[in-house]
């Protein structure tokens, strides 16, 4: 496997990891398990409701920056940075 292929594989692994979290907070906590999570509370918020209307959005933002940061590291590691 050449360098570009290894870089691509590392990228795919990272994307899959990030998308698992993406799916978990929105479709998981916000929709599929919302009733179970609503048994717990975060101040006045029921937890599932909070994930659906607040929490998932915060996680989305964090995820994109995490992805961008990790990709910049991978760019360096595999030496495929832009000039």
């Amino acid at each position: 496997m050449n360098n570009a292929q290894k870089y691509w594989q590392a990228n795919i692994r990272l994307v899959i990891g990030c998308l698992l979290v993406w799916f978990f907070v929105s479709f998981g906590c916000g929709i599929l398990f919302v009733n179970q999570l609503n048994e717990f509370r975060l101040g006045g918020y029921q937890l599932g409701f909070w994930f659906a209307q607040q929490g998932s959005i915060y996680v989305f933002v964090a995820l994109i920056f995490f992805y961008a940061w990790r990709m910049n590291q991978l760019d360096k590691k595999f030496n495929v940075e832009e000039a």
């Binding site: 570009a4 870089y7 691509w8 990228n11 994307v15 990030c18 998308l19 993406w22 929105s26 479709f27 916000g30 929709i31 599929l32 919302v34 009733n35 609503n38 975060l42 101040g43 006045g44 918020y45 029921q46 409701f49 909070w50 659906a52 209307q53 607040q54 998932s56 959005i57 915060y58 989305f60 933002v61 995820l63 994109i64 920056f65 992805y67 961008a68 990709m71 910049n72 760019d75 495929v80 940075e81 832009e82 000039a83």
Partner: protein, 624 residues
């Protein structure tokens, strides 16, 4: 002229002067600047412009109202319209930036080495963008007519003229810098009233905290608990409880996410940053700026609902003195009644207003009145009324002498626009909301018009019909296409086809079922060939269109619908607006099936795919 009107004219006028000033400062000199702002926009600024581009009149005006009335179920819009940015940042934006051309159809046409694929993409792009832009034009007209008391048409023409100046002159460069200014105006206009109202109700300045906080002067009663209790006592489903089916909420969220990532005017924004690296972080910044509004909206919605209930239900439920007297309606109710977006009817003649869930009695009565007027099926409509009133007679509300919900109409759009009036905020705040609504509509309209005009001048003219034109001529064509698109959008805004509100589902359905899967497979599946991609796009597009038309009528002509548009008829309970995700799945499945028994793409295409996967060697703006 009232004080409020003068303030509004001043604030809106000042923002317009700002937009025009920016337009004159940033004229486009070549096609690179016209289509992609010369690829020199800083990622944070690009994120801000993307935020304004993305947040339309629907986000600014309608979303909080949908939340207020839909409660938990409207979360699909919050998650759907933000989660799509994760898909954009990780699956599309950096690779499209590396590829380094001007438009979405250009990528699809090159990657699948097929003018047919490019043409299919152009059609999807134009239909999706045009349907979307009609709604913005309407939003501009409404904002003008309500706040400046100008006729709807005048408002629309003024709005068109402003967009015309900065979009035709500046192209993407002008649009980007104006959008940055528009973002500042709209986010300020959205958050200031929200902060005021949050302080009034809960004492917390941050609406995101206030929504989870306790009510002022209530000794520890949480706002959401109070709201849940109040709506349940009045017969509605609890605000935080789920009403629709889980599958439908799931698919609606998925469709909106995939659709967001596939909308061409958003994707194009990531062509404008200097580097691949910037495309990744720029999506993050865009989402930061969007999240400020999207995490505030749930608070605005819930607080507006609570304020509305408190205004009408002044005392104990069932106490004859517990409801607002018809004559004591506050001024804002009168204002909005005039627009027809709010309506009352004293059904039991007690001179008070009752706002509660009457188990479909009002809806059935409205159905009967409609059948009477338009000559529908009277027996069926009467049977529905009888059934609903029998049910209503058994409820506790009948015992209070109530005869049906007396707020006969509350349009979702009122919530944000009337909010400052409901909370009795100063005039300048109300004026600011007007300017913010107009900024949101203008910025999205400009982005969409740019996507339309560039695909006409660059993809259709330059690449298919008149291949030999030089850069200067193409720039001129770009400007002419832009002017034409604005005039067409204005015409459609003035004479909206009856289906203007429904077509938003269509725009997202098209983007989700055709554009997103094609681009994603183009990057991630090296083996995907032109036959697979074209069949996939057509299958995704065709199935989504068929499903929407089946329930909404062919070309949205209601009488041609094949089945009534309600949950009992939907396939597995999937509403037409949620079908885009299924269409995308069909697209992927067909594309893989067809490509597996057709020839692999030529070697140069496989090299192209390998090349866009690594950031190294990305150039500045380049043409063919």
């Amino acid at each position: 002229m009232s004080n409020l009107m003068i303030t509004t004219y001043l604030v809106v006028g000042a923002t317009f002067a700002l937009y025009l000033y920016i337009a004159l400062k940033s004229r486009a000199k070549n096609t690179g600047e016209f289509y992609v702002a010369g690829k020199g926009i800083h990622p944070v600024l690009n994120g801000m412009a993307t935020g304004a581009d993305w947040m339309s009149a629907a986000s600014f005006i309608s979303m909080a109202g949908m939340l207020a009335m839909g409660g938990y179920d409207a979360s699909a819009y919050l998650m759907g319209w933000t989660g799509g940015y994760c898909l954009l940042a990780m699956l599309l934006a950096p690779y499209l930036r590396k590829y380094g051309k001007f438009t979405v159809p250009e990528f699809i046409g090159d990657r699948f080495y097929s003018q047919t694929a490019r043409l299919v993409a152009i059609i999807c792009l134009i239909v999706a963008s045009l349907t979307y832009v009609i709604g913005q034009m309407k939003g501009i007209g409404v904002a003008f007519s309500r706040f400046l008391e100008l006729p709807f048409e005048v408002g629309l023409v003024v709005g068109m003229a402003i967009v015309f100046v900065y979009a035709v002159l500046g192209g993407m460069k002008g649009v980007t810098y104006t959008q940055i200014a528009q973002y500042v105006v709209l986010i300020f206009a959205y958050t200031v009233p929200a902060v005021f109202i949050s302080i009034q109700l809960t004492g917390h300045p941050l609406p995101q905290i206030g929504l989870g906080g306790t009510l002022s002067g209530s000794e520890g009663v949480y706002l959401l608990d109070k709201l849940d209790k109040m709506v349940v006592e009045l017969g509605f489903t609890a605000y935080t409880a789920q009403k629709g089916s889980t599958l439908d909420i799931f698919l609606l969220t998925m469709s909106l996410m995939i659709g967001t990532a596939g909308l061409p005017h958003v994707i194009t924004r990531f062509f404008t940053v200097p580097k691949v690296k910037d495309a990744r972080s720029s999506a993050g910044w865009a989402l930061v700026f969007i999240a400020i509004l999207y995490t505030t909206a749930p608070a605005v919605g819930a607080m507006a609902r609570l304020n509305l209930m408190n205004t009408v239900q002044t005392g104990e439920i069932g106490d004859p003195e517990g409801n607002l007297a018809m004559d004591a309606r506050p001024q804002w109710m009168h204002n909005w009644e005039k627009t027809g977006l709010l309506g009352f009817e004293d059904k039991n003649g007690d001179g008070k207003i009752q706002y509660y869930s009457d188990n479909g009695l009002s809806a059935a009565e409205a159905g009967l009145a409609k059948a009477l007027k338009e000559g529908g099926d009277m027996t069926a409509a009467q049977a529905k009324v009888d059934e609903a009133s029998a049910k209503h007679a058994e409820s506790k509300f009948a015992g209070f002498g109530w005869k049906g919900n007396e707020i006969t109409k509350v349009d979702n759009d009122i919530m944000v626009l009337a909010n400052p009036e409901i909370a009795r905020l100063p005039n300048w705040v109300i004026a600011l909301v007007a300017a913010g609504g107009i900024a949101a509509a203008l910025s999205t309209a400009a982005g969409l018009l740019l996507a339309i005009s560039s695909s006409i001048s660059h993809d259709l003219l330059k690449s298919m019909l008149a291949k030999n034109i030089d850069d200067k001529t193409e720039l001129l064509y770009g400007r002419i296409a832009m002017a034409g698109a604005i005039l067409l959008a204005g015409y459609l805004g003035l004479n909206p086809p009856g289906f203007a509100a429904q077509v938003v589902a269509l725009a997202f359905g098209l983007a989700a079922s055709s554009i997103f899967p094609a681009i994603m497979m183009g990057i991630f599946v090296k083996r995907m060939n032109s036959a697979g991609a074209i069949c996939g796009m057509l299958a995704g597009l065709g199935s989504t269109l068929l499903y929407i038309f089946w329930f909404k009528g062919f070309m949205f002509i209601a009488s041609t619908a094949m089945a009534p548009d309600n949950a009992a008829n939907w396939f597995m309970g999937i509403s037409p607006g949620s079908f885009g995700a299924v269409g995308a799945l069909i697209n992927f499945a067909v594309a893989f099936a067809v490509s597996s028994f057709t020839k692999a793409p030529p070697e140069r295409i496989q090299h192209l795919v390998e090349d866009i996967r690594v950031p190294m060697g990305s150039g500045a703006a380049q043409d063919h």
